[in-house]
């Protein structure tokens, strides 16, 4: 189970609204390489991992992704909360506004709702861990694209933090993969 901690992993205080940036950042909530997908991917894969260490890595990184999902949602919320209908129309978010108002809803950068069709969970741990390594790289690349689109330090700092976490997760998944490979090799020797 999980217990909520009433704080963000890192502070976010965005002083200036920016609907266009919210529209781009929202993909890291509901998009193909977003935090919601990452959490679902890792927390689904953990049951069939062959070693306790790999299970722990998936469990704990999956948990951290839930915290990142909250950070991304917070950014979207703060960027949009004072937006006028006019600003929303200018950012081509009239359709989003019609469906959700200024509420946070998981979509990708093109407006498609969150789908589990962009992620995998396989019983084969080698395949799953390779998927996870790729997922961390894709999320890192997405954060770098978002950083290129952004010039507000209030938004840049949390984006840089989140990008950095993808790098750390990649490292831990690499170690987990090596350990699972060693474990599988060991089992072949009788």
């Amino acid at each position: 189970m999980w217990m909520y901690e009433k704080k963000l992993q890192r502070p976010i205080n965005i002083r200036n609204g920016d609907v266009r940036m919210a529209k781009a950042i929202i993909t890291q909530y509901g998009g193909p390489d977003g935090e919601l997908g990452a959490a679902v991917r890792y927390l689904s894969q953990r049951y069939t991992m062959p070693t306790n260490e790999a299970t722990a890595v998936l469990n704990d990184i999956g948990t951290e992704e839930l915290g990142h999902m909250e950070m991304v949602s917070t950014m979207v919320y703060q960027l949009m909360k004072n937006a006028t209908p006019e600003q929303i129309k200018e950012a081509s978010l009239a359709g989003y506004f019609a469906d959700h108002g200024r509420a946070v809803y998981p979509i990708d950068g093109g407006g498609n709702p969150f789908t589990a069709a962009t992620l995998q969970s396989l019983e084969d741990p080698i395949a799953s861990l390779h998927e996870d390594l790729a997922a961390e790289q894709k999320a890192r690349a997405t954060y770098e694209y978002l950083i290129q689109l952004c010039d507000d330090p209030d938004v840049l700092e949390p984006l840089r933090f989140l990008r950095e976490r993808e790098v750390v997760h990649f490292q831990r998944f690499g170690e987990a993969l090596r350990q699972v490979q060693e474990y599988k090799d060991m089992k072949k020797v009788f």
């Binding site: 217990m3 909520y4 901690e5 009433k6 704080k7 963000l8 992993q9 890192r10 502070p11 976010i12 205080n13 260490e53 722990a56 890595v57 704990d60 990184i61 951290e64 909250e70 949602s73 917070t74 919320y77 703060q78 750390v168 997760h169 831990r172 170690e175 987990a176 350990q179």
Partner: protein, 93 residues
């Protein structure tokens, strides 16, 4: 949220971040005694800092040191995504 509270919270976030990074490291290095003792040290620091913060500003964990006999501050105090604005207004239901 005033500057003092903000810096106290940042202290907690920094300690917890260090702990969390150590935590992930320990997942793949479970016999590293250096990391284990560092984890213990940071964990003690976090507990103290967090308790002090909760007594003053309200709960971070529902059953922590911010528990108050007169009101359920968990629900009443601001939520993390709008703390800088002092949170939402209290509504009697």
């Amino acid at each position: 949220m005033d500057a003092t509270q903000q810096s106290k919270l940042l202290e907690i976030q920094s300690l917890e971040f260090s702990l969390y990074d150590l935590h992930l490291f320990l997942d793949t290095h479970p016999y590293c005694t250096d990391a284990l003792s560092l984890y213990k040290e940071y964990n003690n620091m976090l507990e103290e800092t967090k308790c002090e913060y909760e007594r003053r500003y309200g709960p971070i964990s529902p059953g922590g040191c911010g528990l108050n006999e007169k009101s359920w501050d968990w629900a009443l105090k601001p939520w993390p995504w709008n703390q800088s604005q002092g949170g939402m207004k209290h509504v009697d239901v």
